[in-house]
């Protein structure tokens, strides 16, 4: 079978005029089971020659879910050890930032506008969802431009809006959009603040928790222990190649990852999200590792990704943001890995507008952390009891929360050092209904993907 199918051929996209509901396989060349089987066979041949599984890492939440949901992980069982890295924007948001977001929600007159996934992430002060149930104004939006439209329309929902309220004029509510995401969503936020400026809005700011991928990859590789170092206990696996995120790469381009090969000697492949996309990338990387070839960074998603990405998107990011240090769950503070508003955009920066007020809310609660990031293996230092125990501050309260958060291994999962199944809380204490850490909350988190698709009854 493998001889008859050219595994290097790229399937053509089906004509977009097809409107009837076709069975899944026939309409989906990027999911063609025969092509999938042929690719797995090719991978198997290489790995058997190599003699042991190849270890690869993907750094994109969408890849994590696609790999689990499609069954690729099962197909490659014993051949490729597929690890997830810090690719889920919700998961890598630091505990301190989540606490600041919840503190902002507590401020009078503030409306929080956020992507849905952030709503259920537990900080030490509870969740945005619980804050909403207790009376905070927290609304889910699908994009930053939606958020601007809400700010422009005033505080009342469409159906019962009083007549003729001008842009941002109504009764003093201030709208804070929680800007979480990588280079994929940052350009959209730039368009949003452009629009806010054009409308002359004075009631709209963005809490920028945006992060950039290349710096995180460098930090991840820089902290990995070299093979010759003596160390106590099991060493985390050494990643031999990277599957690179299709959407981030559409913005930053293939060239942005050349350092992986040049500085770290690792092969990498930019690819899309269909099963065939992912398996073609795996096969390229496995072939490169097994044959000991000079490592290269290849673009296997040419239908979307260009050498230098999307120039307009990158210009927008550079115009509005500048690199800043950012705290990543599991990785600590990484220089130049976050995006902060440039001084001329301070009027739309939640940190300028509300930073002080949020810190005051945090300082009043005995649960406040005294700075510091999320070190390996957990969510930060122990702290005292949540004073709002039992008052709707979150799914849990009190000492139990502290013990659980200390045992949470989201940080290790995000560095690919441990599979979700390696966390003692996974599926026993930490479940999607009752999550301890963000990797279980986010629909693109590794733990959520494993919980939904990788468990056996």
């Amino acid at each position: 079978m493998a001889d008859l199918i050219d595994v290097d051929a790229r399937p053509e996209l089906p004509p977009s005029t097809a409107r009837e509901s076709l069975p899944a396989a026939a309409a989906q060349p990027f999911r063609d089971p025969a092509l999938v089987a042929a690719l797995v066979q090719a991978i198997r041949r290489d790995v058997e020659a190599y003699g042991r599984p190849v270890i690869l890492m993907e750094v994109c939440g969408t890849h994590t879910v696609a790999i689990s949901r499609s069954g690729i992980r099962d197909l490659l069982d014993g051949l490729v050890d597929l690890r997830s890295g810090p690719g889920c924007p919700v998961c890598v948001t630091a505990q301190a930032d989540i606490d600041r977001m919840i503190a902002l929600a507590a401020l009078p007159g503030v409306t929080i506008l956020t992507y849905g996934d952030m709503v259920r992430v537990p900080g030490t002060l509870g969740t945005l969802e619980a804050a909403r149930a207790a009376g905070a104004d927290v609304r889910v939006v699908y994009s930053a431009l939606d958020a601007v439209a809400l700010a422009a329309a005033g505080p009342f929902p469409e159906a019962s809006r009083p007549a003729a309220s001008g842009p941002g004029a109504a009764a003093g509510r201030e709208f804070v959009f929680l800007g979480v995401g990588f280079e994929t969503t940052a350009p959209g936020v730039c368009l949003a603040v452009d629009e806010a400026r054009r409308l002359g809005l004075r009631n709209f700011v963005v809490f920028s928790a945006h992060k950039t991928i290349p710096a995180a990859l460098r930090a991840l590789l820089a902290t990995a222990a070299p093979p010759s170092a003596a160390s106590a206990g099991p060493r985390p696996p050494r990643v031999q190649g990277f599957i690179l995120p299709g959407h981030v790469s559409a913005v930053i381009g293939r060239r942005a990852y050349d350092f992986l090969a040049a500085d770290f000697g690792l092969p990498a492949a930019v690819t899309g999200f269909e099963p065939v996309d992912i398996l073609v990338a795996v096969r390229e990387l496995v072939r490169s590792v097994v044959r000991g070839a000079a490592p290269k960074v290849v673009n296997l998603y040419p239908r979307v990704v260009r050498e230098d990405g999307n120039a307009r998107a990158r210009e927008a990011i550079d115009r509005v943001f500048e690199p800043c240090p950012a705290e990543w769950r599991g990785l600590g503070v990484i220089p130049e890995s976050g995006l902060a508003f440039r001084p001329e955009w301070a009027g739309y920066d939640a940190a300028s507008r509300f930073g002080q007020a949020a810190e005051e809310v945090l300082a009043k609660s005995p649960s406040t952390r005294a700075g510091g990031g999320d070190g390996p293996g957990g969510d930060g230092p122990l702290r005292g009891e949540d004073p709002r125990r039992g008052e709707g501050s979150g799914p849990r309260a009190g000492g139990g929360l502290i013990r659980k958060q200390a045992a949470c291994r989201c940080g290790d999962v995000l560095r690919g050092e441990v599979l979700p199944t390696g966390c003692p809380l996974f599926a026993r204490v930490c479940t999607p209904a009752d999550p301890v850490g963000p990797c279980m909350v986010s629909s693109e988190g590794s733990c959520a993907a494993y919980y939904r698709y990788e468990r056996r009854r």
Binding site: A18, R19, S21, P23, A24, A25, A27, Q28, R31, P33, A37, G61, T62, S70, G71, I72, D74, L75, P89, V90, Y115, G116, V119, R120, E129, A130, R132, A133, V141, Y142, D146, A149, F156, P157, E158, A159, S160, P162, V180, G181, T184, T185, V248, F273, P275, E391, G392, G394, P395, R396, G398, V429, T431, P432, D434, S443, E444, R455, R456, R457
Partner: protein, 367 residues
């Protein structure tokens, strides 16, 4: 519930999503307090005896031989008007469908309106026009109603609560206990249309093509099937909130069997698939408002598919099967340990993945 979790003290939106948290809430708060054998079945409609007098002048009901199906439902959809329908159409067909999948022929509806101060009367009239048209199409009559107005901000424009009653089809013998290993899952048509239509109706989401809700009565499907092959139909449900996957989970749990959906066989329209991929949603969990899933004896499954297609559903298909929980799977592709009770997805590549209820609403991904 695990002993180390403390249950939330307030209701959150996730409790309304039809998944795990809703199920827990129903069990922990409602069933515990309102327990009776009818409610305990947790089916879409209750099949109850027509009340007969106990004794002259006394309160209470004796059971007569005749049985009716009784159901209630609430409609809080936003936006009120979406491609392919509106809250009124949804209210009528949603209630009719709850009766139909219980094996009943719907007859009467009631409708209670909770209206937000400030709603334009023209909008209300448009909704009621839509209900009237739907009622005519479904051959039911709205026989009682109620109206309340609440202050601005207390509800999203309009909420509608309904009740419905119908008489049981003579061939309908439905229930989880009737389900057998080897039974086929027959789905009346493609999934995800209502979920995507409502999503696209919300602010800011526009697609190149408009996906329209499939909001419709399924009584026109269930009644002919029960007429022709009634005894072969074991169980039916309409995959609304929570989608096909949630209904499969319910079936697996209620009947104690392994329900296996074949991914390649579940019809998903290309527009729905495109929207799902853009937003990171799973079509198996999206709401449908004009579809029915039937569990049918294997020798009549083909007949049921043909009947559904004749009744105007070209996309009707067998989408999976029931296997005994705990027995090794007979399908050669699915080697491995036997499946426990619940729902599973056999993927296009031959793997078998467990399907869980979602704990809250599906949320579009971020990037």
């Amino acid at each position: 519930m695990n002993p180390t979790s403390s249950a939330p003290r307030r209701i959150t939106l996730a409790h309304g999503a039809g998944g795990r948290l809703t199920a827990d809430l129903v069990r922990e708060v409602f069933l515990k307090r309102l327990h009776n054998p009818h409610l305990a079945t947790l089916s879409d409609s209750a099949i109850v005896p027509v009340p007969a007098p106990v004794a002259a002048g006394e309160i209470g009901a004796a059971a007569s031989a005749a049985r009716i199906a009784l159901t209630t439902d609430g409609f809080v959809v936003t936006p009120l008007f979406f491609p392919g329908g509106d809250i009124g159409k949804l209210a009528v067909f949603g209630t009719v469908n709850d009766l139909a999948v219980a094996g009943a022929i719907p007859a009467y509806l009631t409708a209670s309106f909770i209206i937000e101060e400030g709603l334009p009367v023209a909008d209300l009239a448009r909704v009621v026009d839509s209900m009237a048209a739907a009622a005519r199409e479904a051959r039911v009559v709205v026989v009682a109603g109620d109206t309340k107005v609440v202050e601005r901000g207390s509800c999203d424009g309009l909420f509608i609560a309904t009740a419905g009653v119908g008489h049981l089809h003579p061939h309908a013998v439905l229930g989880p206990a009737k389900v057998r290993p080897g039974d086929c899952l027959v789905l009346s048509g493609p999934v995800g249309l209502h979920g995507v239509a409502v999503l696209s109706g919300r602010e800011g989401l526009t697609f190149e093509t408009t996906v329209r809700s499939d909001c419709a009565s399924v009584a026109g499907l269930t009644v002919p099937v029960l007429d022709k092959v009634g005894p072969a139909v074991r169980w039916m449900r309409d995959p609304t909130r929570g989608g096909l996957a949630t209904v499969a989970c319910e079936l697996g749990e209620e009947a104690g069997v392994a329900v296996v959906l074949e991914e390649a066989a579940v019809p998903v329209p290309p527009d729905v698939r495109g929207a799902c991929e853009m937003f990171g949603l799973d079509p198996l969990y999206l709401a449908n408002e004009g579809k029915v899933l039937m569990v049918v004896a294997p020798d009549e499954a083909g007949t049921v598919v043909a009947l559904l297609r004749e009744a105007g559903q070209p996309g009707a298909a067998i989408v999976g099967s029931v296997e005994a929980a705990g027995a090794p799977s007979p399908a050669p592709a699915a080697a491995g340990p036997p499946l426990g009770p619940g729902a599973y997805l056999r993927t296009t590549f031959g793997g078998t993945k467990p399907l869980e209820r979602l704990s809250g609403d599906q949320l579009p991904r971020i990037c």
